[in-house]
Symmetry: C2
Subunit: 677 residues, 2 copies
């Protein structure tokens, strides 16, 4: 819908006007007619189009039209001018006997102006998309996308590019969204006119715009063929939190100029992600008076959310720590990872300083746009000895970094990212979550005290929106991480995955079965020097342990009910794994749970290969009954179990395989902007 | 949709369970069956309802049902228990020859629990509204409403009630939303069970909940008949930013307990207004282990937005300042206000300390809910000598107060609330704004320097949402307020109002007309001792003044185009008033506009009576031509003009009638929650 601009035209004057093609000028004829005018007529050169409102009664061609109180002349230009003032329009005013009383003359210069973005999300900046100024979710939606420029083009003396006021390297431009200013018109704008790009104060915190020092020609803006200059100084800053408005060059004739837009802020509680960039044509008035914007074109960007990757996505790299005591574990992990066909990355001791909990210090995710995508590590406020690893070792070219700073007193064990997982894609009561749902662990919402994931991280996760989080109850565990009682594995049927849950009931059932068939004297922990073996019957006869596991089962059942409800799961989508827990005293009066034997659910999932903590369960005919049950349950899904001995180096330190590793995975094929929100 | 709770039932055990009526227990029969069980059967007392899944094949009544891997028993209770454990259910397990292997017995206690709010927005807290946990805008919408408790029950030593941790007076309860906890069941909950009310950490900043120390009985919660206790100490605090979860009493049998909920925070950039309050039933485990929430009921509130009142609403009170030099003005105002039938409130000099700009220090608005409504003054960060007036003189019982604190360096003349207005209701391209749209003035968005309304106030205004703001260009004015060039008056036809705009073109046209009929020597400012008279011809011959007014007209036209677009107006909805401006130098290099003669558009609108700055225009046959034109234009709308001499006491200080007054108006009949958003 075109909203015409009011233009004042005095009689017996000649004025020069710039008109943007596609816009409309509205002249109130009566307002500036000579006194006693009764009629008027209009003449113009062919490039000018006009209409008169209200529509005059039919008259002879060129015969004067009666002037009334609300006579309006609407003027448009069909195409850009080649020279300044090359189009003309005049209004003649007549008296009662049609004598000429005065004449107003307009000299018109038409320009085409379009600020363009990739509003249709195909990776190419199309021309003047009708929807470029608004955002709509979904496959039929529209609106351009911005990445937070959170990687670092430099690997040495690095910091995230968004923290530098300039383009940090020419290669940095590919992390930015291209915005094209397309103009057409005379070689120069008429004296005093200029183009200005501008953003609001609120948006300025979240975005920066650069441009090349001189023009890039049309041929260089073909898709995939951006031509970059070699020097950073060739890309001056146009807009930032310090500069909300700046003149940009008008290049003359048919021209295109690329701009490069970078996001600075991730979505959060106080930032919903929408950003507007405007381009205005300014008309001069006279010195000391502000220039008037007579045409404004606006484009919208949405900042891409940070997205997590579930176990069902293909792995790329596996990260583990090397410590003085985990040689055997490392070897088993290397075998599993190499055999599975993925890369193993070892974090050495001089970096990890003895902190082996690779899962807990960071979470891998990514940000995505039609023009570019790269992994982004979310750094936990846990800040163990691994605290520098995400920044020092991961941040780099096309590897982004984001963190949330919490006060030390607000950080607990629940802020470790073993307590941050994500489900595979699900549909819940007809609502699709094609990117799955984030899962975190907290205290019961009813708890008057208890540990929680810190608010700044929770706010960040909820603000991303595309993987709407679910809060489980994990404070019943001593360590308190959701990965101690649940995981997801791929499956060929049903919803494409199974939820695995630790289950003391399943454990007791298995042990009772062993007892019933005469294996009550089989021993757990056999052959482990550092742990006293114990028989199946001893476990079954320990009423205290049974009571503790009843409690643990009720905690897991509570979470099971939440997961069924929030992920739309049936009982058939869930597999109970035979795992026992025991309670230990925390803070003298509170009891919290730890795994009784290596916690098999705390596994690493690498495609169809599972790396599972070796449980050291009771042996039946030379085979561990827990391993056998696990293999039986997983092989039905086409999954292969590798049992990894993590007893001394992880289990006894209250973690397992999953806690001690991390997997970077491929991104979803599904594009987040195709979500229906 | 009911999501059943997993219940573990061991064989050869009798367990006691509490079940909330309307919820469902899910027993996995296989999980806890004795080994070798092949069949089962279920018996229960009449108040228990159960179903078996998957549905068993037809069998003889009471004959055992085959047990398979996923046999599930779903249990419900049809109504509340009178006594603890008064309902029973047992599951019998059988072997392959149907011999009894074991029996699990449940002793059931059923309770009804419902946390209720006025989700249907009729002022009455209905029982267990199916939509109470979500918010939907519109006349067919739902969701309860919360007021920010921003008035002060005390008039002495007052502060807004929301700033006090306790109920400040028993009368304060009527500013709060009533929430009712309805329970039914045995006289006491079984040992160790309890009810807990809780909120999230995020919501806790925005809400407080109180309850009566002991129960209020059912009869006292009838609509409009709330029975309040006499002492504040009878209303202990339940939830606040310090206490996120607290036990609340279970009163036994059929009981209702009122809770009182107060909002603490207005909508703003980081607060969208939705708040959840939860009530859970906790099951005890054993000392040292957290109690488990086995049932949670949730209600949602939305905090009411702050709403402005346009000129088309009925006035209630008119506020003006008394100063040492405005006696004559005050007298004229009193006559007009009394004649119009409204109340005049005078702010005396010991309060205003010479600051006469009553319009600029504050804006009247209100907050509304189905249970209560009261006016709320928005205090400007302008903070002239009137700065204490809104807090000291207006804040009180059922008169709320809100402000936004800005840094002194960010505050300019554009933060005065002569620069904050609101349109009457409009429809724009099919979109309804039944509460109108807020209008503020700023610099051009393209300006590299310029004055703006400070960000904290703009963020507040935008966050209210129900009167989506429009930003005009007012920085061209020396004072910089939108009320210097526009106002709205009621009209009997078209959209129910007209937009009045100052128009130098209309002024020149009128003066040229006077000249043409021989009144070129008529004088403006005649009889004013303190201003040199000037003739119509002298004005018409002043080319500099004409140029200045051309510029002013272009600024107003720019705003006219924005207003037409954003309010959906036609030219016929706009009336141009004959008003000239002149430019003065500001900051040595910039020119800004002030009114040449008293700025008639800067009027006070009191129903059909307009109080207009007396323009002291040229006299024709003893009558001021400007007044005559004004009366002609307004009388067509059925409006009556009173011209008020504000020349020395306001106009020469760069303000007029509107700047020097403020009107508190009645609220809209339209309820904001009926908006379709």
């Amino acid at each position: 819908m075109i909203h015409p601009r009011t233009l004042r035209v005095g009689y017996d004057q000649t004025i020069s006007v710039v008109c943007v093609v596609g816009s409309e000028l509205n002249v109130n004829l009566n307002r500036s007619a000579p006194p006693s005018s009764r009629f008027f007529s209009v003449k113009c050169t062919p490039s000018v189009q006009y209409s008169i409102g209200p529509s005059p009664q039919k008259t002879y061609h060129f015969s004067p039209i009666p002037l009334n109180g609300n006579s309006v002349l609407l003027i448009r230009m069909s195409h850009a001018s080649q020279h300044e003032n090359d189009s003309k329009l005049s209004v003649w005013y007549y008296g009662v006997s049609k004598e000429v009383l005065g004449r107003a003359v307009l000299h018109l210069t038409a320009v085409e102006i379009s600020l363009d973005v990739d509003a249709d999300r195909d990776g190419v900046v199309e021309k003047n998309n009708a929807n470029k100024a608004s955002w709509k979710w979904g496959p039929n939606g529209h609106g351009a996308i911005l990445l937070v420029n959170c990687d670092s083009e430099w690997t040495w003396r690095k910091k995230p590019d968004r923290e530098q006021e300039n383009v940090s390297k020419v290669s940095d431009l590919k992390d930015m969204s291209v915005m094209v200013l397309r103009t057409r018109g005379p070689a120069k704008l008429p004296e005093g006119y200029k183009l200005t790009m501008h953003i609001s104060q609120g948006d300025a915190e979240s975005v920066r715009v650069f441009r090349p020092r001189t023009s890039e020609t049309k041929n260089n803006t073909l898709p995939g063929k951006h031509f970059y200059k070699y020097f950073v100084k060739d890309y001056p800053l146009v807009l930032s939190s310090e500069v909300l408005s700046q003149e940009v060059p008008y290049l003359g004739e048919a021209a295109e100029m690329n701009f490069y837009v970078e996001g600075l802020k991730f979505l959060d509680k106080d930032f919903s992600g929408l950003i507007r960039v405007n381009l205005s044509l300014l008309e001069p008035i006279s010195p000391g008076l502000p220039e008037t914007p007579i045409f404004t074109d606006t484009v919208v960007f949405r900042v891409a959310p940070w997205i997590m990757t579930p176990n069902t996505l293909r792995p790329v790299e596996v990260f583990v720590c090397s410590t003085s005591d985990n040689n055997q574990f490392l070897k088993s992990m290397r075998n599993l990872v190499i055999m599975s066909g993925y890369k193993l990355k070892i974090c050495h001791e001089f970096v990890n300083r003895g902190d082996r909990w690779m899962q807990d210090e960071l979470e891998f995710g990514y940000i995505d746009s039609p023009h570019h995508r790269f992994p982004v590590v979310l750094d936990s406020p846990r800040d163990g000895e691994l605290l520098d690893f995400p920044y020092d070792e991961l941040l780099g070219p096309d590897f982004g970094y984001v963190t949330r700073v919490a006060q030390k007193k607000d950080v607990s064990s629940l802020d470790s990212f073993g307590n941050l997982e994500v489900s595979p894609p699900v549909t819940v009561n007809g609502k699709h979550y094609p990117l799955g749902r984030i899962i975190i662990g907290v205290a019961f919402p009813t708890a008057t005290k208890g540990r929680n994931m810190t608010k700044v991280v929770q706010d960040f996760l909820w603000a991303q929106k595309v993987q709407e989080p679910i809060a489980l109850f994990s404070d019943w565990l001593y360590v308190g991480h959701v990965d101690e009682f649940m995981t997801f594995v791929p499956a060929p049927d049903r919803k494409g995955f199974r939820l695995l849950l630790a289950s003391p009931d399943a454990g007791y059932k298995l042990f009772r079965g062993l007892h019933n068939v005469g294996h009550g004297q089989a021993k757990l922990f056999e052959g482990l020097g550092h742990e006293e073996p114990i028989t199946v019957d001893e476990i079954l006869n320990d009423e205290g342990l049974q009571a503790e596991n009843n409690y643990v089962q009720s905690c897991i059942d509570w979470n099971r009910d939440v997961l069924k409800r929030e992920l739309g799961l049936d009982d058939e989508d869930i597999i109970d794994l035979p795992i026992l827990f025991k309670l230990v005293v925390e803070d003298k009066t509170e009891y919290k749970a730890v795994a009784y034997y290596p916690d098999m659910v705390n596994m690493i999932v690498l495609g169809k290969n599972l790396g599972i903590p070796k449980p050291f369960g009771p042996k039946v005919n030379g085979h561990c009954a827990l391993e056998a049950e696990m293999c039986y349950l997983m092989e039905g899904l086409g999954l292969s179990c590798t049992f990894i001995d993590d007893f001394a180096s992880y289990h006894q330190l209250l973690g397992e395989v999953h806690c001690g590793s991390n997997v970077r995975r491929e991104a979803f094929d599904f594009k987040w902007w195709n979500l229906e929100m």
